[in-house]
């Protein structure tokens, strides 16, 4: 259904002069179908357990295995299933890599960007009570005002950051 839209949008591009670059160079279906699977995974867990899962709490709950900080202790009771959830995410992506991707894929983004960005992500998602899955998928799905404000905040800041980094000539 969404795949059928792609040629229409491509055809629309030929007739419109104002668009600087093609808005969907890779089509839409890849993104929409992937998103449906992400949602279905969260829904399956919700149906069976009532748990509304996010991916970033794994960071704090897993740290409770190795750190006695009181901040992490409150996640002790759900740290085991969060490890199972995360192992599932890795395995599910591996299934895609084997069946569709045709082997391993490696990023060209520089390690310092991944490391420094990762530190900000680790601090920010935990202070901000969620990430792209907790706020973006489950919170928005819950029509939570907190999550909608959270998503608008991190999306806007991320766009500005990426544009500035790109303007400074950092690539990839």
């Amino acid at each position: 259904m969404l795949a059928d839209l792609t040629p229409l949008l491509a055809a629309a591009d030929l007739t419109s002069l104002a668009i600087p670059a093609e808005p969907f160079p890779n089509g839409i279906s890849r993104y929409a179908i992937g998103g449906l699977f992400v949602g279905l995974g969260a829904v399956l867990i919700y149906l069976g357990t009532g748990i509304i899962a996010g991916a970033s709490t794994f960071l704090e709950s897993t740290l409770s295995y190795v750190s006695g900080q009181s901040r992490f202790a409150k996640y002790r009771y759900d740290r085991d299933w969060r490890v199972v959830f995360t192992v599932g995410i890795v395995l599910g992506a591996a299934v895609y890599a084997v069946l569709w991707q045709g082997g391993a894929w490696t990023t060209d983004v520089q390690p310092w960007r991944l490391l420094v960005g990762g530190v900000f992500v680790g601090i920010g998602t935990r202070i901000g009570k969620g990430c792209t899955s907790g706020h973006g998928v489950c919170g928005v799905g819950s029509a939570s005002k907190t999550s909608i404000v959270g998503v608008i905040t991190f999306l806007a800041v991320a766009i500005v950051t990426a544009q500035v980094v790109s303007a400074l000539g950092v690539s990839p």
Binding site: A21, L47, L63, S70, T107, R113, S144, A158, A162, V165
Partner: protein, 156 residues
């Protein structure tokens, strides 16, 4: 807090594993597990990425709306079906902004980072190390200022 028996159902762990598998497959299929694709979106070179988040949010939204009207409690845990509501305070804005800087710099968010490892991207270990270090730093800091959680009052 802390009723550990809710996870003792024999199918609890298998169900969470399969849910994670489908979740991770979706992140890989959408290419969101590739930092380059996220950066292309944030730099306005490919507007496809919002279809991942909002496509997923529509699916969860339908389930979160319908399921509580059909059943009261989840079969494996006995937990009530509820929405994901978190109290709003300025931490949502502060944390969201810090996360935004990290996401915009690296193109990586937690779920996509785990999935990235699954597609064979060993370089992503840099981001995973960074995320755990960041989560640890805020944990040490917040363990010492316990009053931050007590200030969360306004309802969602």
């Amino acid at each position: 807090m802390g009723a550990p028996d809710r996870t003792e159902h024999p199918l609890f762990a298998p169900l969470v594993l399969v849910g994670g598998l489908i979740f991770g497959f979706g992140l890989a299929y959408s290419h969101m597990a590739r930092p380059e694709v996220v950066l292309d979106f944030l730099q306005f070179e490919d507007f496809g990425l919002p279809f991942v988040m909002f496509g997923a949010a529509i699916v969860t939204g339908i389930a979160f709306f319908l399921v509580p009207r059909i059943r009261d409690r989840a079969p494996m845990t006995g937990d009530a079906y509820e929405r994901r509501l978190k109290p709003f305070d300025r931490n949502v804005l502060i944390g969201g902004s810090i996360f935004g800087v990290g996401w915009g710099l690296s193109g990586i968010c937690p779920g996509a980072a785990y999935a990235s490892l699954g597609i064979g991207n060993v370089t992503i270990l840099w981001a995973l190390v960074g995320m755990f270090a960041g989560a640890y730093l805020q944990g040490v800091w917040r363990s010492r200022s316990q009053d931050t959680d007590a200030t969360a009052t306004s309802a969602d």
